[in-house]
């Protein structure tokens, strides 16, 4: 394979914005589900959309896929409005909902033929190729499939039109380890060929390795969005031992967590100030100073546990 063309797709910084969300709002009766959301997802990203149940992820996704009209703000995919151009966007976006439901009396092959009616002729051979790759029995009725096999049918249907954008709502929840790995490998492969992927999840550990971008959502709002690399610089844990007075972490940046026991002290800081960090490291009585980036799971807990405590 030509490495020059191979790397061509892997240009995160200058890449065009594929999904753009500005000031998006949605409320259901008295409950605000999405409270002014801004997001930008560049081409080729695997964008992990993280947050607790009820944070507003699914409502956002339903607005992105044109299933819900926003109360205010705008979401576009490849420049097209997700609500007004929803029908035209259907061929561009692959969507796997959290609990996909199809006509369960159909077989794996039949649901493919049925769905092919809404798509160009290339759909069916692509669907058959995918179901074969996922080792699905084409004669099996959908109602007899396991949860993992059912999810593979949903992914095959979503991928068969060769969409530029793939949106997955909790795609791997409740699936076996091997199926989850297969799903993630498909995601990586798609991102490598320049497709853009948005995955909502609260299974943080397995998303960590594949994600290029991470966004944390709580109470309908974005808490933090960054590339996976930026996140390592922006969220840091400092630990040290001290004699005398415990150091004050507040000057380091936004302190998300702190704890001290005896002479041992640690703090998780968002956007640390390098000068303040250097000063702390040199301070009298401070020894065994260490700083380490957080795993995504630790970042999730630090960011969302803190926000979650608020009313």
């Amino acid at each position: 394979m030509d490495i020059a063309t191979d790397n061509h797709h892997v240009q995160p910084r200058t890449a065009e914005t594929v999904i753009e969300v500005r000031g998006l709002r949605k409320r259901f009766g008295g409950k605000v589900a999405v409270a002014g959301l801004d997001l930008r997802v560049p081409r080729g990203a695997i964008f992990a959309f993280l947050g607790e149940n009820g944070a507003g992820k699914t409502t956002t996704i339903r607005m992105l896929t044109g299933l819900l009209e926003p109360d205010a703000g705008r979401a576009t995919i490849l420049g097209k409005d997700c609500w007004k151009d929803a029908v035209r966007l259907r061929h561009t976006i692959g969507y796997v909902p959290e609990r996909p439901r199809f006509y369960d009396w159909m077989t794996v092959a039949e649901i493919g033929w049925f769905t092919a009616g809404f798509h160009p002729p290339s759909f069916l051979p692509a669907y058959e190729h995918l179901t074969e790759r996922f080792k699905l029995d084409r004669k099996a009725k959908l109602q007899t499939l396991s949860k993992g096999q059912y999810a593979k049918v949903a992914l095959s249907l979503a991928l068969a039109p060769d969409p530029a954008v793939l949106i997955l709502d909790e795609p791997t929840s409740g699936l076996d380890l091997l199926v989850r790995r297969e799903f993630l490998a498909s995601m990586v492969d798609l991102a490598g060929s320049g497709r853009t992927i948005l995955i909502s999840s609260h299974q943080v550990a397995e998303i960590e390795r594949v994600a290029s971008h991470v966004a944390f959502m709580a109470h309908g709002r974005l808490v933090l969005a960054a590339t996976a690399e930026e996140l390592q610089r922006r969220l840091v844990r400092y630990q040290l031992c001290f004699n005398g007075h415990a150091p004050d972490p507040e000057r380091l940046g936004t302190v998300l967590r702190r704890s001290a026991s005896g002479k041992h002290w640690q703090a998780v800081v968002l956007d640390p100030d390098p000068e303040a960090v250097a000063a702390l490291q040199r301070a009298d009585g401070v020894r065994d100073f260490e700083e380490c980036p957080l795993t995504l799971e630790e970042a999730y807990l630090a960011l969302l546990a803190e926000k979650g405590d608020q009313p």
Partner: protein
């Protein structure tokens, strides 16, 4: 070459883990000068990491002069790579051992005790490697 799974929980970034694996493979002769390393698109789904992360590791290997991009072919291991990688392997392991030994000394273990632990753990690691190699050969 056989890529080991990368571990996102380690304090070492994933791209550096990939750099280290390629470096060790070249240092040990498992990858030789003139051989091609797998393409970004090929490796990323195999080890389940984003293609950008693999690309970043490859850029670093290229910057170090360990691989060179051959148009239309891929990334090729350079003639000077084995020598470079052996030096790096030594330096990297020395740094890790130094950190651990520093902690051991700071914990007030006696040098004899530390030496004994190092010997025992080295034997154990070597035994595990032999076991792994022999099961691999049987496959």
């Amino acid at each position: 070459m056989l890529f080991q799974p990368v571990n996102p929980d380690l304090p070492v970034p994933i791209w550096e883990q990939i750099v280290a694996q390629v470096t060790y493979a070249i240092a040990s002769g498992a990858l030789e000068s003139g051989e091609l390393i797998p393409s970004v698109r090929e490796l990323a789904p195999r080890i389940l990491v984003h293609p950008n992360t693999v690309a970043k590791a490859y850029q670093e290997l290229e910057r170090r002069g360990v691989v060179v991009s051959r148009r239309g072919k891929g990334m090729e291991v350079t003639p000077g790579a084995p020598e470079l990688c052996r030096t790096w392997r030594r330096d990297l392991i020395r740094r890790r051992v130094r950190e651990t030994l520093r902690e051991a000394v700071a914990s007030a273990l006696s040098p004899e005790e530390v030496r004994q632990i190092v010997e025992e753990e080295l034997d154990r690691a070597d035994g595990q490697r032999r076991l792994r190699d022999s099961t691999r050969e049987k496959r």
